[in-house]
Amino acid sequence: MSFLDAGIEFAFSFDQLYDRLQSMPAPIRLRELIRTIRTARTQAEEREMIQKECAAIRSSFREEDHTYRCRNVAKLLYMHMLGYPAHFGQLECLKLIASQKFTDKRIGYLGAMLLLDERQDVHLLMTNCIKNDLNHSTQYVQGLALCTLGCMGSAEMCRDLAGEVEKLLKTSNSYLRKKAALCAVHVIRKVPELMEMFLPATKNLLSEKNHGVLHTSVVLLTEMCERSPDMLAHFRKNEKLVPQLVRILKNLIMSGYSPEHDVSGISDPFLQVRILRLLRILGRNDDDSSEAMNDILAQVATNTETSKNVGNAILYETVLTIMDIKSESGLRVLAINILGRFLLNNDKNIRYVALTSLLKTVQTDHNAVQRHRSTIVDCLKDLDVSIKRRAMELSFALVNGNNIRGMMKELLHFLDSCDPEFKADCASGIFLAAEKYAPSKRWHIDTIMRVLTTAGSYVRDDCVPNLIQLITNSVEIHSYTVQRLYKALLDDISQQPLVQVSSWCIGEYGDLLVSGQCEEEEPIQVTEDEVLDVLEGLLASNLSSPVTRGYALTAVMKLSTRFSSVNRIKKVVSVYGSSIDVELQQRAVEYNALFKKYDHMRSALLERMPIMEKTATNGPTEMVQTNGEAEPSGLESKHPPSITQPASQANDLLDLLGGNDVAPVIQTTPAAKPASAGGELLDLLGDLSLSGDPAPQVPVSQPSFLLDGVSSQPLFNDVAAGIPPMTAYNKNGLKIEFTFERSNTNPNIAIITIHASNHTETEMTNFVFQAAVPKTFQLQLLSPSSNVIPALNQGAVTQVIKILNPQKHQLRMRIKLTYTHKGSPLQDLAEVNSFPPQSWQ
């Protein structure tokens, strides 16, 4: 053999070998693949197998292998379902769709639905294929195309193919008509403008006998009516849709057993439900339609079997429809009774559904729902969380003046045993209900106490000031309240809101507590020391939050005017002067200062709180601004705070300016925020003007600017501008002089010091000076040096007034003086007009 021959032979055999290597083995079957993957024991093993298979599939795709493409794509889809990326198969799906074989098409469309979505450009390429398939000779292919379009057709595709869908809607083939109807629904959802196109096709839809077509037609009509009020009107009037639907429904109910669509003895419940839903839309806000369907609704409601879920589904839809249209009252009562029956059903799904509906109707049909109150209250004990929640909301909606006692008992019991997530809402609800319908103040207080002791730590923060306000206003049972709160405190000091309210009360009414008088129940014997022990315990305990400690310290302080053991209190206060907690330290230091330098003011400062008015309807934030919180934090200011004048005095002053009888409100400024300049500012006047026509508005402004020029000295130290003093008043031996200064820091502020002197032979006691200025000014009155003016000019009472005059108007003032002289009370009014110009320009 020549060298050349050997070479050629070798080349031939090499070719054969090469060929044999080229034809790879047929890709494994889907079943094989699934079985193999399931044998993988770890995630890593599975991933390895998948990668190997993917590589094989990829090379197979590259070879443009028609025979096995379908199989490969199917495998790819399986792997995609497991969560692995499969986008390299997208184009293959398109090729499958374009193929002529049914199996190919089927996998291709499935692949398209799983792998492609609107956001990829690839899917647009499908449009042509789908168009061809919609006109295919085999209905199954047409069906596939319709299905795919209806599931994931984008807006552009829908626009292009809507005409084809519409054609198919009119075909006589019921298999296709069904699909076309729902496909049309999808088209309308994507491109609402195309709705008009389908209108002519809907004319005959309802005369079909085929249930499937009927069902999908109803869905289509529902979609159209929901989206467009014009369509709705059209269907009502022109098509006489309602009578048609009523007729169909009637046939369904009356006709005998039809095996095809029967579910547990009821014929085609799904169709019934959809028809009822469409009737609901048609009957809403339309008297004629509602009337036309009254009878059939009553019939369905009474004749449907309720033993199985199916019947209940229909009844539920019926109830929803009745409540939504303009039905007559008899029908509505029937509906609510059905819901009431649902509540007694063993199946919790049905109870849930009933509660949800009742919640929606309780506003409109309150009385009818009331009848089922006891069942609803029983549902509070259900095991399912969502049922309990709905029962609770419904119970609160049903509380009224008549059933408050009974309901509250149940609700309190519920509060005891419910999950923590409910407690906050339940507590707030109870408070609201108690506030609206409390039969007596004592009952109200008892209820609140019960809530505080059982769910105290879940009560919302805004409840504390609300409660304090409530307690203050229930004057006649102060002693009862403080006694009960004290007893509660002895038992348990861990629940902060309870402790806060209790310590506040003890601070206010501690004297009632130790005096041992209580009308409502057996008075307990408590000594002052015991009370102070409890409060000190709170201060020292780890369970108390910083806020609570603040409350406790203030309470101790208040007791200094009510108890006799002042020394002990002084000791406590001074101990906390070096506390690490800044808030506590500040309070203690200020109270100490009160003991030392301002002892004469202490009793006035720590007086009982007046009755608080609510400034806004149930606004918790407004509450914070009134005396409730203001007192403890008001004392934080660095300046001697002014006297908390009792309400009656403010009243008188308002009379000063024109005799209006506005309900007085003492608004101490929102000093609850310690950051504000604090100092209780008596905003006496708000919008009242000297001309005597009042604007009875409650002042809310924060004139903290008035303290701008003031340093930590008790009084200002601005440079006197050399303004001449003036005598404002001189009568009956009482002389009042004004001296002026302008604030250095704020040119709009004038600072007036009054000097009140008395040149009669007897002193004047209980001296109170009040002033009012016109609308454009704002006034702040600081505390007087004393309220006794000694006789024979031996001393004077001084008081500081600050006036803000941003508009530089001429300063005018009305003043009112009250004092006791020679045993008899006197009062006088005067106008002061001749202020030196430098004081206000």
């Binding site: 379902m81 089927r106 799904f270 839809e317 919790k348 799904n349 049905i350 969502s386």
Partner: protein
């Protein structure tokens, strides 16, 4: 608890990762419930109607305004068809024949609505389709 999705059919547009996230959320919400809970769960601004058959949960996510009880019946209808078609269906049937299960879904649901409710009709169609393979 590790749960696998055997079938997921979407009638609204989502990205792949959005889909994955949604699936995980639904798993988390549904699998912690037991017999004493109702079959309805509030989910984002929709609701899920679900029913458990042996080890499988069948969940449908619908609008809040839809009739819960009717869709519960829909699930049961669907499961009964599966049962007939696969002759006492079990989970493995669904795994190995996933593309056939999708066909059943597409026969009974379309565009997010129930399409065919008659079990006999659906089964007839499925057998026809099978003969074309």
């Amino acid at each position: 608890m590790y749960s696998k999705t055997r079938l997921a059919k979407w009638y609204m547009q989502f990205d792949d990762d959005e889909k994955q996230k949604l699936i995980e959320e639904v798993h988390a919400v549904v699998t912690v419930r037991d017999a004493k809970h109702t079959n309805f769960v509030e989910f984002r601004n929709f609701k899920i109607i679900y029913r458990r058959y042996a080890g499988l949960y069948f969940c449908i996510c619908v609008d809040v305004t839809d009739n819960n009880l009717a869709y519960l019946e829909g699930i049961h209808n669907f499961v009964e068809v599966l049962n007939e078609y696969f002759h006492n269906v079990c989970e493995l049937d669904l795994v190995f024949n996933f593309y056939k299960v999708y066909t059943v879904v597409d026969e009974m649901f379309l565009a997010g609505e129930i399409r065919e409710t008659s079990q006999t009709k659906v089964l007839k169609q499925l057998l026809m389709l099978q003969s074309l393979e």
